[in-house]
Symmetry: C2
Subunit: 332 residues, 2 copies
DNA sequence: AGGGCTTTTGCATCCGTATGCAATCACAGC
DNA sequence: GCTGTGATTGCATACGGATGCAAAAGCCCT
């Protein structure tokens, strides 16, 4: 603390000005190569690193990105969080993690984020009101919705996977396998993921002139909700759950409570491809989200926006991939 | 950005000095009640909040706590992360999330944490070298190991659950139930959790003058490792896994690959009580870590240290609780 | 050698807030 | 009404670095 070396200390020690120390750390600054080398060497020796807080103050850019997470109990997100943090670090940002207190709107986090001069926000789970978004963006800060899409017209960029397309794949595979009585289990109704997956699933039926499959509302994206939903599925021979965690709960219900065999009696499909989907006890056939690509895209968009990219907001969609496992083996 | 209201703006508008605005936000400062009310009201109207970055600069305290996480793929940690973030927020801190790139020492994160003037660090999974710890603490910053204990003599505080005691409970329950051929499955060997759980498990045997149970090294704390380990368990009639995720992999192996019934043929116990342990498909009997209490203790220690508490480092242990489920029903 | 240029460097100042210190004010006691 | 005392307030400066601007130093050419 008192022992922390400052740019001034280093400058004095080297007999140069503090500005030069500052510039030596800015690759874009014009500094004689010899001088830069001398400074960086001395800095390394003294264990000096520019104070990020002070830099943030003058630059009006903190290089901190707020990560607003909810639903951390959905096993899809920990992996996202881990990779996102690493990717942000690699891009030169730090990640400030905010958890939305259950039931709250993400808008509640904005004041705290502004207070810490966060450059950008990545929102998963929770979304922003368009008023909140407009306010935030108006300040020259960036925001990206991850695995989510804004409902109304919005100035927010979003990155998600092609939920509808993935769900259509699920429906087509089930239909081609000759499954007759299909069911869709919806998750949290106010999420774009659940809505889009439902829409995509239905679209395959419409395209073939079939009547829409039965729909069960699980209420939210939890194991327990999936469990309950599956018990209402009656004699369905194919169930597409809005995400994996629902599907796992559903499979357990089907097998242990309803006494039905998966996949012989009933095929089960999920969405996300969380680690547990691959466990032999479940072997859940599912649609894999291209997480790595989604994260890369997110960061690219953030950086572009921070550099002032004036494009209108985009809703980027990356394709989901069907991962066949034991809970349903597609024909062919 | 340009539109951000500063304390000066507000002060000018109110015809007072900037200092008064600053003080109005400091509950300990002496400000006439009427003045404070007037300022806070105007602040609210103007949507003003003190710039945390600037405050951090003058205060030499950022009110940011670094959270160094690893093993985010272990479902025990997401819950910890979520609660920890909420608790830190409630205590007036922000959480900066750092992921240790796989295989790296947490020391690698310290420079970045210093750079952002983080007040304190909470380390889960990864640990600090004692040199790194000494350096960090010497700077007036705090650090706490969570769910981990330092191996050698160390100046680091730690909060964990009583792993040895919990493991002893597991052993005693198995022995009292008359299980004869017991096995301990170790996790990552260099973690205090695995070591202590093993030690505690063995101690129950020693106390009864029984020879030590068999030991299988899973290698790390993953589902797959647990799966592999269980296949080596032969005719064991009771297996205590160093944590839940190992136990789940083990149960699947026992049931689906080894064709053994749980709990009739073999009792299975885990440690942590992750959400999946409660799923009906597993119904894993396990030792619950008192996560909420551990987090509260962690924050309490952090705060005390930041206020200069000179106590020697403590290793706090909170008791684990046996949660009986279907994978092993203790006698009585 | 001198002029016109391009790099390098240093000087000052600013970012937005906190805080020690001195000035001011309010109010009680006499 | 005047002085003493404590509560309020304003002033000035510091925190650690970034950066516009001008001064200084090279450099190339005629």
């Amino acid at each position: 603390m008192g022992s922390a070396v400052t740019a001034r200390d280093l400058a004095r020690q080297l007999g140069v000005s503090q500005s030069m120390v500052s510039r030596a750390f800015d690759p874009a600054a014009s500094v004689a190569p010899a001088m830069r080398a001398r400074i960086l060497e001395a800095a390394a020796a003294a264990n000096y690193r520019p104070n990020g807080i002070a830099a943030a103050l003058t630059r009006r850019r903190s290089r901190i990105v707020g990560l607003v997470m909810g639903e951390l109990q959905n096993p899809f997100y920990p992996a996202v969080l881990e990779q996102m943090t690493l990717a942000l670090q690699a891009a030169g940002f730090e990640a400030l993690l905010l958890t939305v207190p259950p039931g709250q709107q993400a808008d509640a986090c904005l004041p705290r984020l502004r207070q810490y001069q966060v450059d950008a926000v990545v929102l998963t789970s929770a979304s922003l009101s368009s008023a909140g978004a407009a306010h935030w963006l108006g300040d020259g800060r960036a925001a990206v919705l991850f695995n989510r899409t804004a409902s109304g017209p919005t100035p927010l960029d979003s990155v998600a996977c092609d939920n509808a397309g993935g769900a259509r794949l699920a429906a087509e595979a089930l239909l081609e396998a000759g499954r007759q009585e299909l069911v869709f289990v919806a998750g949290r109704p106010d999420t774009s993921t659940s809505q889009e997956r439902e829409r995509g699933f239905l679209s395959a039926f419409a395209a073939r002139g079939l009547r829409a499959p039965r729909r069960i509302a699980a209420g939210d994206f939890s194991y327990e909700a999936g469990h309950r939903a599956a018990l209402q599925a009656g004699g369905a021979d194919g169930i597409f759950f809005a995400n994996d965690i629902l599907a796992l709960g559903g499979m357990d219900a089907l097998r242990h409570a309803a006494g039905r065999r998966v996949p012989q009696d009933v095929a089960v499909l999920g969405f996300d491809d969380i680690p547990m989907a691959g466990w032999p006890g479940y072997a859940l056939t599912t649609l894999r989200q291209p997480v790595a690509a989604m994260i890369a895209a997110t960061i690219e968009i953030l950086q572009a926006r921070l550099e002032g990219d004036p494009q209108p907001a985009r809703a980027l969609r990356l394709p989901a991939e069907l991962v066949p496992r034991g809970s349903f083996l597609p024909a062919g």
